[in-house]
């Protein structure tokens, strides 16, 4: 079977075909970015917080094994049960085993990119367990059988009219309903039934504190809290990069996270879990799934500092105009392009090129991951491994060959400037000329700079 690669440019072009949606998607996300700017500017020590957060994360990664063991020890003291999963399969098996042991058939799950990464939902469904995503955006996506297109705003690519249609089909709301209050109320009623019926709650984790053994979950809807407060069984999936050393460090991250993500001063709910509820069980599943491989890499290690605020997606001019699905990855946008291409450069070879290297992602990042530089570095990996189409590689070889020879460069330039303007338009503007699809090429001057300059020197002007 031929290897399927992700072709971002083609999917982006298809997304842009719908101009109205592209404009609206771009503006919706820019609105979030502008709110973020305002919230960040209200904190005079913002840049100091970013620097500190970056240092804490880098420190934690450098001593990760120690902090993980400390976390486990403290979590056990609170009565939590700790599991270690090397990869997605192990994670899914552990979760299934816990659920089966408790004869659980219905589960509610709050937002967790890690369970998306592990494809937990389809796995549990295959084993006869109903999983209901309780974050509103995620529930909409689940009903539509689509993956989230954004890590914080899963349904940002669809409009309220489409939500209305989806709810009409699945929840029996009025046809053509578009009123957000009405639709949200319908979702609330629907989810309430699911909460009441669930025998277990699964959550993600935003921060795991080594010093206390506690985990912190940040949501705006309170769905994580109700999801784990009603049933006696709480399973939290924790990526091992979620560790922070001390309780005192947490405030730095909670001050950054919501402001950078959506421009809110703090998420509506910041919930701390230290051990199970009375009579219940708390299971913490610590997942590697490629993280130690990234950690061992001198360049990509920094990408593990990510706190999943989503700001690099919101600010990315390419993401805003191509939509999350064009990345074909659990995590899209700049950070997703780094994580996926670092993990599988062959499949995701096009993602590091879906970037104009504008650097906005790095400037907006709350932990200062040099995302644009990582994407540039990845291009070297991809070209070096010959994952680039041959035509592109040859073009670069040819360009380099010409540029190494001043006489050839001068000659080629003169020839092009003389010859190209004489060609009939269809020879210059055709499907081989991607530049010329929507753009004119510059008017060719008769003389190059070097000719003008040398003339001037000769005639002593």
């Amino acid at each position: 079977m031929a290897h399927t690669t992700v072709e971002h440019a083609a999917d982006a072009a298809a997304f842009i075909q719908n101009q109205e949606r592209t404009r609206w998607h771009d503006q919706a996300l820019w609105f979030v970015r502008a709110k973020r700017d305002k919230a960040a500017r209200a904190v005079p020590e913002w840049e100091q917080l970013r620097a500190l957060a970056g240092q804490i994360k880098r420190h934690t990664l450098a001593h990760l094994a120690d902090y993980l063991l400390q976390f486990e020890e403290q979590a056990l003291r609170h009565g939590a049960q700790v599991h270690w999963a090397r990869n997605a399969d192990e994670h899914n098996q552990i979760v299934l085993e816990i659920l089966q042991r408790h004869l659980v058939r219905k589960v509610v799950k709050s937002k967790s990119m890690l369970t998306e990464e592990c494809h937990l939902n389809p796995y549990l469904e295959r084993h006869g367990i109903e999983v209901v995503d309780t974050d509103l955006g995620e529930r909409i996506m689940q009903l539509r059988q689509e993956p989230p297109s954004h890590i914080v705003l899963p349904a940002i690519h669809i409009k309220k009219e489409e939500v209305g249609q989806t709810f009409h089909t699945h929840l029996g709301t009025q046809a053509d309903a578009t009123d957000p209050n009405y639709l949200a109320e319908a979702a609330r009623g629907h989810l309430r039934e699911k909460f009441m019926a669930a025998a277990a709650g699964i959550t993600g984790v935003n921060f795991a504190v080594a010093e206390t053994g506690g985990v912190v979950v940040c949501t705006n809807e309170g769905n994580a809290d109700i999801g784990v407060a009603l049933p006696p069984l709480h399973i939290a999936s924790v990526g091992i990069e979620k560790l922070i050393p001390r309780w005192a460090d947490l405030a730095i991250f909670t001050r950054l996270l919501a402001r950078n993500a959506t421009g809110q001063p703090v998420t509506a709910y910041t919930s701390h879990f230290h051990g199970p509820i009375p009579g219940g069980e708390l299971h913490l599943v610590l997942v590697d799934n490629g993280r130690t491989t990234l950690r061992a890499h001198d360049v990509f290690r920094e990408s593990l500092c990510c706190i999943r605020c989503g700001a690099c997606l919101n600010t990315c001019p390419v993401y805003r105009r191509s939509g999350g699905h064009s990345y074909h990855a659990t995590i899209p946008g700049p950070i997703g392009s780094v994580l996926n291409a670092a993990h599988d450069p062959r499949t995701y070879y096009s993602l590091p090129y879906a970037c104009s290297l504008c650097g906005s992602c790095a400037d907006v990042c709350p932990v200062k991951i040099p995302l644009d530089q990582q994407l540039l570095y990845l291009r070297g990996t991809i070209a070096g491994a010959k994952h680039l189409p041959l035509a592109k590689r040859l073009l670069m070889k040819l360009t380099s060959f010409v540029m190494q020879r001043t006489w050839l460069y001068t000659f080629a330039g003169r020839l092009a400037r003389w010859w190209l303007p004489k060609l009939p338009r269809f020879l210059v503007y055709n499907r081989l000329n991607a530049w010329g699809k929507q753009r004119e090429i510059p008017a060719f001057p008769k003389k190059s700079f070097r000719e003008l300059y040398q003339n001037r020197q000769r005639h002593g002007q």
């Binding site: 005079p44 001019p317 290297l357 504008c358 070297g380 670069m396 700079f449 003008l452």
Partner: protein, 251 residues
């Protein structure tokens, strides 16, 4: 003061007046300008495609050509960022390399930080839209970027603001990328063009009369989009305005 003038290949071939304006401006400020004719391209298209073996000889060629100049000045933030940040993996440890990094400047930063010039005198009675070319903005920090919290500054605006009659566009998105991005403009043609059209719409909405930038490549892309659509917002490299060119010299 003697400088080696580093003219990006596409300016040499396509926008010769930008090079001439840069040379004239520097000479007017008392700088002794020398243009070493062996120069071609800094290698950025290859580097940004990830083709390091194809970049390497051009980095060596550049070092050889410019090693002995006290300063190297270039009317492109992007090409200077290439030398400053991306030559290291090829030239680290080569004699003269560390010095080269320290003495290679983009035109505006050379004027402001090295020559320490006052804002230039002259007249330019237009509403000017400054396009913040990304590598100059976030790479060289020629101006404050909208993401970073701190005092706002702009070396471009500082140089322009004493010109008689000049006013500046207040954009909705002060420093969004135009979508050029070198080979990105070809690889991701649809997104690239959309980004450029959005940037132009922002300038048109606020009434920009002349569009300028410290990088001609952004303007080449934006101007290409406009010419296809028959709209004509004059584009000028900042060196052209600073050298006193009339708007009739715009591209």
């Amino acid at each position: 003061m003697r400088i080696g003038l580093f003219i990006p290949c596409y300016i040499d071939q396509l926008y010769p007046d930008v090079g001439m304006a840069t040379a004239e401006l520097l000479e007017k400020l008392g700088v002794e300008v020398e243009f070493p004719v062996e120069q071609t391209c800094c290698g950025q298209p290859m580097a940004n495609t990830g083709c390091q073996p194809e970049t390497r000889p051009l980095a060596f060629k550049f070092l050889k050509i410019f090693r002995d100049f006290p300063y190297v000045v270039c009317p492109s933030g992007s090409c200077v960022a290439m030398v400053r940040y991306h030559y290291r993996e090829h030239l680290s440890g080569q004699p003269g390399f560390e010095e080269l990094v320290g003495k290679t400047f983009e035109l505006c930063e050379f004027l402001v930080d090295v020559l320490k010039v006052k804002p230039l005198a002259g007249s330019f009675p237009y509403q000017v839209g400054i396009h913040q070319s990304c590598h100059g903005l976030r790479g060289l920090r020629l101006a404050s970027s909208s993401e970073v919290v701190g005092p706002s500054f702009s070396k471009m605006r500082y140089l322009l603001e004493a010109l008689e009659g000049i006013t500046f566009s207040q954009l909705d998105r002060p420093d969004e990328c135009c979508g050029f991005g070198g080979t990105f403009s070809i690889n991701e043609e649809a997104v690239s063009s959309q980004m450029g059209l959005d940037r132009l719409a922002d300038h048109e909405r606020v009434g920009t009369q002349v569009l300028t930038a410290p990088d001609m490549s952004c303007l080449m892309h934006l101007s290409g989009l406009m010419r296809r659509r028959g709209t004509r917002l004059p584009v000028m490299h900042i060196a052209q305005i600073l050298a006193g060119r009339a708007v009739s010299a715009a591209y």
